[in-house]
Subunit: 340 residues, 2 copies
């Protein structure tokens, strides 16, 4: 097993999850693009040096998790694949290639049965949203999906998280001063931009949700819109979702469909004040759904709120699940992370 | 002039705005329900005692701003009105009464021309949303409105704000512990519940947005849905809005319509990374709109993001604007708050 991008937030989470789930690992190679190599990380009680990635890094390696930036994946995934390494890539470099499966195992895991050489791991918000959509799509068919996100700062990586921590400290006695260059602060703020802007006025993060939802559900025709917003939360993405189905579905039926779907936990008891929040969902592998209610003016409309840990199910856990299935581990050996 | 609820967040903001706008005030009576009386507040450089409200409090008073809780308004508004005092009530106690106008002066200010005895000031999120909707309704007609909010903690009052400040301090070195009774924390969290739950699964805050949008726009038939969510921001509410219009409208036309509407500032230059955020909008009286873009699958669909200061335009400024018009001040004497 190789992990490229091992020192990043998702890389370190992936290592923790491989350990928790007792993924059978012979040799472990921790790799980084030049900048962050030369560190050491602990795995299963042993210290491992992080080495700069080179072509030989993949020799004799069956499986690699890529938790690096797009440009690093774009260069190294073809090199690894050429040497016979199967790559699960968390970047978006290959997600929209027709011949690269984009997989959430509970939703379209059968795409892994052909043991593809390269598998793309979806966007962190999209994974949880698609988990919530899949049982509705199967039961009633989706006509329209409208997503508005509440995304935690860890989704932006370690540097973004450091900016949040610093901003919170600077802002303890009143709102923090504007940041250099007029960049919006994360602390005590809401930032309706994630990733760069596309020509159509949507951000790339919003378009990822649109493109990836269509691809994973195999519904290229599906009407999807998204607004992606950063909120001052450390870990855990939320999303308010409004769907229009092909037939009316009660909130009670939706809850039943979700409950019967692997990896989903329904937390939806308004009378007891129970609904999902990122603080409660962080550190878990489950996708939490609550606040289910009908559209007030359309019997085929349904609204709900989804929460999941963006570093775990939104990234590392989903990648490890893909790796498990590629490695022929039908059921994982342990699910410590999922039971917490 | 009397202010009932003068010691609360909105009450103190109202006093600041009356001062900024040089509202002509003869005698000023600062009133409170029993609990918070016995304090003093400064207005125009003079100290004023806050006294417990009694029936005589309104004798000889032309105009009163009520910035108190619903139950306090429900008791005292009729008593004040009976004595000839005009009341602008920020609570929701009278908002849904057919004979009480619910007013955003820029949108339906003509409802004040008959000089009603009691005027309701709308919900803090609704005011900004309706400001953004009104020019679209006039230009093209609205068919459907879908709102998802990012509401600051000051909307929950001083106690909620103190809980946020304490939670932020406790959570400096890692997420704060769960609160007593399992109540969700505001700090480093997102809480998809504001106000109590109704039987239909919506919160009362969400239903306020639905009912008040319909009433202010005089469109009882309008399809509206809302998801109201608390975020760890001190002041400034955001809302992601998705509308379906009766005819296609480009984002460029929408920006033009908003720019031509009083009290709105368009901040929408993706190429320069310019869009509204609550941190930038706090302390201002303007409603800020950005992120305008078309629905990807419906030419009549338009998405945008609205921000405004929930204590100012979302509450106190709007109430003072109503008071100005009731007092026959066609144009306010000064708009210091609006120029900052």
């Amino acid at each position: 097993m190789a992990v490229l991008g091992a020192t990043g937030l998702v890389g370190r989470t992936a290592l923790a999850i491989l350990e928790e789930r007792r993924f059978p690992i012979g040799e472990l190679r921790l790799l980084a693009s030049d900048r962050s190599a030369s560190r050491t990380l602990t795995f299963s009680g042993r210290s491992h040096a992080v080495t700069p990635v080179v072509a030989e890094s993949f020799a004799g390696i069956d499986l690699a998790l890529f938790t690096c930036a797009n440009d690093v994946s774009a260069v190294w995934a073809p090199i690894a694949v050429e040497q016979g390494t199967r790559v699960v890539d968390n970047s978006s470099a290959f997600r929209y290639h027709d011949d690269v499966p984009l997989v959430v195992p509970e939703v379209n895991g059968e795409r892994l049965d052909a043991r593809p050489r390269l598998v793309a791991n979806p966007n962190c918000s999209t994974i949880a949203i698609v988990m919530a959509l899949a049982p509705l799509e199967r039961a009633a068919g989706l006509e329209r999906v409208q997503v508005t996100t509440y995304q935690s700062v860890s989704g932006g990586g370690s540097e973004a998280l450091e900016q949040l921590e610093q901003g919170v400290r600077e802002g303890l006695d009143g709102d923090p001063p504007p940041r250099a260059g007029g960049l919006p602060a994360f602390a005590f703020n809401v930032v309706p931009q994630i990733d760069r802007f596309e020509d159509n006025g949507y951000t790339r993060e919003e378009m990822k949700i649109v493109w990836e939802t269509r691809k994973i559900l195999d519904r290229p025709d599906l009407a999807v819109t998204a607004t992606a917003v950063r909120v001052p939360v450390r870990v855990g993405h939320g999303a308010a979702v409004h769907v229009t189905l092909r037939r009316p579905m009660s909130p009670a039926e939706a809850r039943e469909r979700w409950t019967g779907f692997p990896g989903i936990e329904v937390v939806d008891e308004p009378a007891r004040g129970r609904f999902p929040t990122p603080l409660a969902g962080a550190g878990r592998d489950t996708v939490f759904i609550g606040r289910a209610r009908g559209d007030l003016d359309d019997a085929r409309g349904l609204l709900f709120f989804v929460v999941s840990d963006n570093l775990r199910k939104g990234a590392a856990t989903n990648a490890v699940q893909i790796a498990e299935r590629l490695a022929g581990l039908a059921a994982p050996l342990a699910r410590a992370g999922g039971e917490r």
